[in-house]
């Protein structure tokens, strides 16, 4: 398991999230959403970023190069 800093757009704080190297980034993003849901939620398509670099939700954590204590942003995707 890899500890990463998860940030959900609309939230007020970064959260420590544990990611499995083999899971899809979409799964990790869902963990961020669950951890932040008391304060914020996003509907619709999502856009993900690792340390500011856009990544595809359907790639695995390992394929995307998500490393320990990276910053993972979960943002509103699609047309803004």
């Amino acid at each position: 398991m890899i500890p990463v800093y998860g940030f959900l757009e609309g939230d007020t704080i970064g959260l420590l999230i544990l990611a499995d190297e083999q899971e899809l980034l979409a799964v990790t993003a869902a963990k961020v959403q669950v951890a932040a849901r008391l304060r914020a939620a996003l509907d619709g398509p999502l856009a993900l970023f690792i340390n500011g670099r856009a990544v595809e939700p359907e790639t695995t954590v390992q394929q995307a190069g998500l490393k320990a204590l990276d910053r993972l942003d979960v943002r509103r995707g699609g047309a803004r």
Binding site: P3, Y5, F7, E9, G10, D11, T12, I13, G14, L15, L16, I17, A35, A36, L38, R39, A40, A41, N51, A68, L69, D70, R71
Partner: protein, 494 residues
Amino acid sequence: MAPDDPDDWIDLCRKLDWEFSYVSERDVFPEVQSGHPWLPASDWADWDEPFRTTYGRYVAQQQEKEASVRAVREAVGGLDDYRQLPAGWLNGLKLHAATLPLAEFAAVIGNLRAARFGRDGAWRGAALFAALDEMRHTQIPLLLMHELVRWDPQFDWTHKFFHTDNWVAIAARHLCDELLLASDAIEFAIATNFVFETGFTNLQFVGLSSLAHGVGDRMFDKMVNSIQTDETRHSQMGAPVLAKIVERDRPYAQYLLDKWFWRSWLLFAVVTGFSMDYLTPLPNRTSSFKEFMQEWVIEQFLQTLGRFGLERPWYWDTFLQGLDHYHHMVYASAYSYRSSVWFNPVLPGPDERAWLRAKYPDSWGDFDPIWERIAARWRESDPGNEFAVHGTAIVSFCDLCQMVLSNGTPRENTASVLDHEGRRYVFCSRPCRWIFEREPERYAGHKDVVKRVLAGEAPGNLLALVRESFGLRHETWGKDAFGGVYPWLQRDRA
């Protein structure tokens, strides 16, 4: 010379310096203690401050102040007087009470270093009086709050706070250890006497004193007024030191100013921002935290910069944006992790949120939906069911200020990751990262809460972390100040 008229002889005593014949001046005042830049005594000979106090005058004035505090305490400082204060205000009191006395005690050390290693006799004498001041600033809140412990054990944190590994205590110690215990005499004078006391305690003491008066907390009003009259005196040591450093090493003076303004701002935003915008009952609020900052800090700070020919800190725009966001970001985070603190936060209702929207028209639109969600969760939950309306994930912390990663805005958190000599660090903001990168050897070894968890030095389970590291138990950890029961919050079910 008339010995009963101190004005006739005071300067002979307070400017007591001499040339050394058995040791070098550099050995008596080593740079590591006296500070950078190292200047010969002749360069400091014109150092002066306006109070020019004698020990006799000092003792007489302080005795009067102590008698006045005691009189107010006997009149309105009893348990029954505190019981009548609003719940939100009492919790602001717990927040302030915890962060004040042991920080003041650390300031005794910093002032005593200046009393020994300050480069001019008058500076050293004034620092000695300041050290004595800080002793009473330690003792007064400890004395006043001790009375309340038997009624509410959260007041025990007045003394306990700094002795725990609570996340706020780690952040406060990280600041105070560097500011008050580790700084050399020059950095201490600029950072503590000038930036912290001249700049920020004006806000805290004048602003909060006014609020305390409005709420009816005459004891707190008296306490902060009594402390502020001391701060006013010993803050005067900062300007003459800054003037000298500006003259001899302007970039270093600018760096110290930039660094300590930022670090001080983060602490004050949380401690004072929470109290002014959330914990003070709405009818008693006179101004927002931002308005107080604009009136009491920014205007004065900019005038001072101009007087010394210094520039605004490079992060000034970031700071101004933070006035609209930072304490709101941290308060919403702290409310949703309130079991990790020793006071009970208040859920802002429709009236409070309308007031906040009026005071923060540029930012409140991003915060209102957050409070609406939290209120909605309370509507679905039983009164007092705290953990139904509480975060569960471990939160993350800045490797410089040790505060939660809550800088920037809800739309764009400003945290960033840095790799340095094989270790990974995270910072809440560009200024925190900049401070770290200027002196990494000073900060790199410190572990924030997350690093302690990952190293197995603290539990990874939130409840265990709260109990074992943060030093809280059910009786003392924070809960909603009203148990989630508010007149405006109608529950969906009976």
